[in-house]
């Protein structure tokens, strides 16, 4: 019972802070609201018995990726008045398109709304022991491939962000 109330409160807070990400004018404020959204999503993970993913979400998303975003924002020195506001027609059209998109997705996912729990009461699924066993036995090849992805992303980021000296006009 108390879990249900907590889930509803967390869901409302998540939607509210996600809306604030989109609607707030200042970019730094919307980064901070995105961090808050990630914390609420981690709360949902804890309520769904995915403890390891909750910690990973906080460390990787809120701790690393969002700090990277904040760093780039402060490096570029953007201000709220430097960017033009979108027009009223664009806003109205975006609201309509977003609402229609939501309705279409709900209609597509309609069959999964009354999903019966197949294996209820298995609370140990999200623990690091089970996840590690699955990751290092069944998914060992994608795990190794992801390290190659990281190497190429790192090299690509360095190559892209390096200031080129010999640009031919």
């Amino acid at each position: 019972m108390i879990t249900d109330i907590l889930t509803w409160i967390l869901g409302g807070l998540t939607i509210g802070s996600a809306l604030m990400v989109v609607l707030s004018n200042h970019p730094i404020r919307s980064v901070l609201f995105l961090v808050i959204t990630f914390f609420f999503i981690s709360g949902h993970y804890i309520l769904l018995n995915a403890q390891f993913l909750a910690i990973v979400n906080i460390i990787v998303y809120a701790g690393a990726i969002m700090v990277l975003f904040l760093f780039v924002l402060m490096l570029l020195n953007l201000s709220a008045e430097g960017l033009p506001k979108s027009s009223r027609y664009l806003t109205l059209g975006s609201v309509i398109i977003g609402g229609l998109f939501f309705i279409v997705l709900i209609a597509a996912l309609k069959d999964s709304l009354h999903f019966e729990a197949l294996n209820p009461g298995s609370n140990s699924v999200g623990l690091v022991q089970n996840l590690g066993k699955t990751l290092f036995s069944k998914y060992i090849v994608p795990f190794e491939v992801s390290s190659i992805l990281f190497i190429s992303a790192m090299v690509g980021a360095v190559m892209l962000a390096k200031r080129e000296k010999h640009i031919v006009e």
């Binding site: 769904l48 018995n49 960017l83 709900i106 994608p142």
Partner: protein
Amino acid sequence: MEFYVVLSTILFSIGAFGMLIRKNMIILLMCIELMLNSANLLLVAFSSYYGSSDPQIFVFFTVVVAAAEATIGLSIIIMAYRNSKSTDISLFNNLKG
């Protein structure tokens, strides 16, 4: 279960709405992160109801790919800012026919 399906659909729609309404490229990347997180939330909800740990491994790989994608996207944004002194997406319309 329907709560999490509806919640992650709402979060995905908010991300798509933000993609349409905002002009700043960094905020567009943040909307992409929001949409990825809504998909992650749905995967974790199905994992918890199904009693299997495979969807949580998929979430793990999604986080890995999102980290790489954010790095590359931010360095492209820095390069674009260096060329045009702005991150306004409507300035980059050179490929428009």
